[in-house]
Symmetry: C2
Subunit: 337 residues, 2 copies
C-alpha cells in the first residue's frame, strides 16, 4: 500500500496541516522540518495527485495537440516539449489531429474533460472556434509554430515570411533568376510562399505560374511531384533553383532529381528548411533555413507555465523567433561561372 500523509503524521507526531504546509513550501520549525524530511524518505512518501487535485483543481498535466505527429517536425517537437514539461513536473497528454480540423476539435474537448491545466497546440484550423471549449473552461492555451490570425492567443512562432524571403534572396544574390517554389497550402506553407513571392517581387523577378507547385499538405510526394513537374518544362524555361518549404518536401525533390541523374548544385540549386538527418548527411550538404526548434518549445512551455501561476496578466504574449541560414553546398553561385 502507498503511504499517505497520515503515515508520516504517525511517524513524526505532528499534525497533518503542519506537514501539508511544509510540503507545499510553508515555514516550519527546523527540528520539525528534519523530522518530516526523514519520514518522507523512510516511507517513500509521494503526495497523491488525485486527492491534491480534488482540492486545488489542478491535474499537473498539460495537453499537447499536434497537427501531425508522424512527420519529422512533429516528432522532434514532441520530444522537446515532453522533456521540458517533465522537467517542470508536468505530465503530457498528446493528441494527434491528423491534419483534420474536426479531429482537432475533438482533441480539445477530450483534454478539457481530462481537466488538463493547460493546452499547447500546433493548430490545423485557421480560426480559433475550436478552442471555445477550452476558453469556457478557463484553460490557458498557447499555440506554437503556428499562430491563429485575429485570435487573442499567446503564441510563439517563427517569422516564416522573413525566413523564406531570406532564403530566396540568398539565391538571387548568387545570380539566380529562374527560381521555382514548392509549398503546401496550409499555414506554414502559405507563409513561406509569401516570403518567396516578396523576395521575387522586390528583385523585379517574374514568377510564372508554372514556377509554383503546391498541394494540400507537406509531404514527400509533394516535393517529388513538384520537381517532376518542373522537369517537364522546356529546357530553356527550367528553373535554376528550387525553394522548398519544408523538410519532407526537400526529401521528395532530392529523390526526384537523383532518379533522373540531375546534379546538385551543378545543374540545379536547392534551398530548404530545417537541418534534419538527410540534409546533414547528403552530399552536397543542403543549404537550409533552420528553425530554433528547441527555443520554440521552451518559449511555449515558459509562457504556458507563467499562465498557470495565479497572477496571469491579461497581456497577450506573442513571441516571434527568427530562422537562421545554415549554408551548405547545394546552391551554385552563377556569378562565378
Amino acid at each position: 500500500m502507498e503511504s499517505t500523509i497520515k503515515d508520516i503524521k504517525r511517524e513524526t507526531g505532528l499534525a497533518l496541516s503542519t506537514i501539508s504546509k511544509y510540503l507545499n513550501g510553508g515555514n516550519v520549525r527546523p527540528e520539525n522540518k528534519k523530522k518530516i524530511d526523514e519520514a518522507v524518505r523512510k516511507l517513500d512518501y509521494h503526495p497523491n495527485e488525485m486527492a491534491r487535485g480534488l482540492i486545488t483543481k489542478k491535474t499537473r498535466t498539460i495537453g499537447f495537440v499536434l497537427y501531425d505527429i508522424s512527420g519529422t517536425f512533429g516528432g522532434l517537437l514532441t520530444h522537446y516539449v515532453g522533456d521540458l514539461l517533465r522537467q517542470s513536473g508536468y505530465g503530457m497528454i498528446i493528441c494527434d489531429s491528423n491534419n483534420d480540423k474536426s479531429v482537432e476539435e475533438q482533441n480539445i474537448k477530450f483534454l478539457v474533460e481530462k481537466k488538463v491545466d493547460g493546452i499547447l497546440v500546433v493548430p490545423v484550423s485557421t480560426d480559433d472556434g475550436f478552442l471555445d471549449v477550452a476558453k469556457r473552461a478557463d484553460i490557458p492555451v498557447v499555440t506554437l509554430d503556428r499562430s491563429i490570425s485575429g485570435a487573442q492567443l499567446d503564441c510563439v512562432t517563427i517569422d516564416n515570411v522573413a525566413a523564406s524571403q531570406s532564403a530566396v534572396e540568398y539565391l538571387i544574390e548568387r545570380g539566380h533568376k529562374r527560381i521555382a517554389a514548392i509549398y503546401s497550402e496550409e499555414y506554414t506553407g502559405k507563409h513561406r510562399r509569401d516570403g518567396y513571392r516578396r523576395a521575387m517581387r522586390e528583385a523585379g523577378l517574374n514568377v510564372p505560374s508554372e514556377y509554383e507547385y503546391h498541394e494540400k499538405i507537406h509531404s514527400v510526394s509533394l516535393g517529388y511531384n513538384g520537381m517532376n513537374r518542373f522537369l517537364e518544362l522546356p529546357v530553356s524555361k527550367q528553373p535554376t533553383a528550387i525553394f522548398m518549404s519544408n523538410y519532407e518536401v526537400a526529401l521528395g525533390v532530392v529523390m526526384a532529381i537523383n532518379e533522373v541523374g540531375i546534379a546538385c548544385p551543378d545543374d540545379i540549386s536547392l534551398i530548404s528548411f530545417d537541418a534534419l538527418t538527410l540534409t546533414l548527411v547528403m552530399k552536397p550538404k543542403m543549404t537550409v533555413m533552420v528553425q530554433p526548434m528547441e527555443t520554440i518549445a521552451s518559449e511555449a512551455v515558459r509562457i504556458l507555465m507563467s499562465r498557470l501561476g495565479e497572477g496571469s496578466q491579461a497581456t497577450l504574449q506573442r513571441v516571434l523567433l527568427y530562422a537562421s541560414l545554415n549554408e551548405g553546398d547545394s546552391v551554385r553561385d552563377l556569378r562565378i561561372s
Copy 2:
C-alpha cells in the same frame, strides 16, 4: 463552475448513489433513467475523474514509453496507439527514452508516480530491471515491437528473424550470392541480422566480415556510411544486393548510391523494411518487408485493456505477428540476364 453529481441530484430528486450507479452501468428504473439522462444533458455533466480516481484508484491514463519518438517508426506507432487509447476513453502520457536506458528507467518512475493504470513500452533495455518499480506498484506492463527475453511480460512483436530471413531468401532465389547487410546493434537490428545470417548459411553462402556493417542505432547515417563502405570494396567483391534492417537505414543507402550514380536495380539490388513515404515514392519502388504496425498497436492495447479488468488471468500473453513482403522493383533477377 462545473456541475457535479449533486446538481443532478437536485435536478432529479434522486439519491446520489442511484445516480452514481446508473452512470457506472448499473440498473435503474426506466423513468429514473430518463430523468438522469435529461439532467446530464441539461447540465452538461461530466464526472470528475479526480474524485472518482481517489476512490477507485484509477486514473484512466496509460503511459507510453518509447525508445525514440523522433524516428519515423516511433512517430507512427505513437499515432496508432494514441488513437486506440482515446477510443477506449484513456489518456496517454508519452515518454521518450531517447535511446537511453537510464532515461527509460526515469520514465517508468515518473509514470508510476503519476499513477497510470498501465504502461506500454517499446524498450531500450534488454533486461526488465527497469520495470521493477512498476511491478511493485502492481501496474500492468505490455511491451510492443520489442520483447525482453527471459522476462515474464506480456508482449506483441513481429518475428524479425523470420522476416529478414524471408527477405534475404527472396534475394537468393533471384540469383544473388554476394549479399551484404546493414543493421544496428540494438534489439531489432540484431534480430534482423540473425535472420540474414541464417538465410545465408542455409543457402551455403559465405558472409565475409566486410559484408556486415553495423553501428549502435538505426539512423540515416548508418545506411549512408554502410553503403559507402561497401563501395570501397574491390569491384569484383562488391555485393550485388544489400539487405537493410530499417527504414532510416534505407534512406541513407539510397542517398549514398544516388550520389555516386549507381543505379538500382541495374547495378545494385535493395531490400528493406517498412513501406513508408520514401519507399513508396521513389523509383524504382523499393521491395520491403512490411510490419503490421496497426495490428501491433491494437494488439498491445487490447492486451493491456484485458489486464485492466478485474479478472486478469495470470497467463502470459505473447503475440507474435509476421511481416509480409511487399514487392517493388528494387531487386534485379540475376537468373534472367
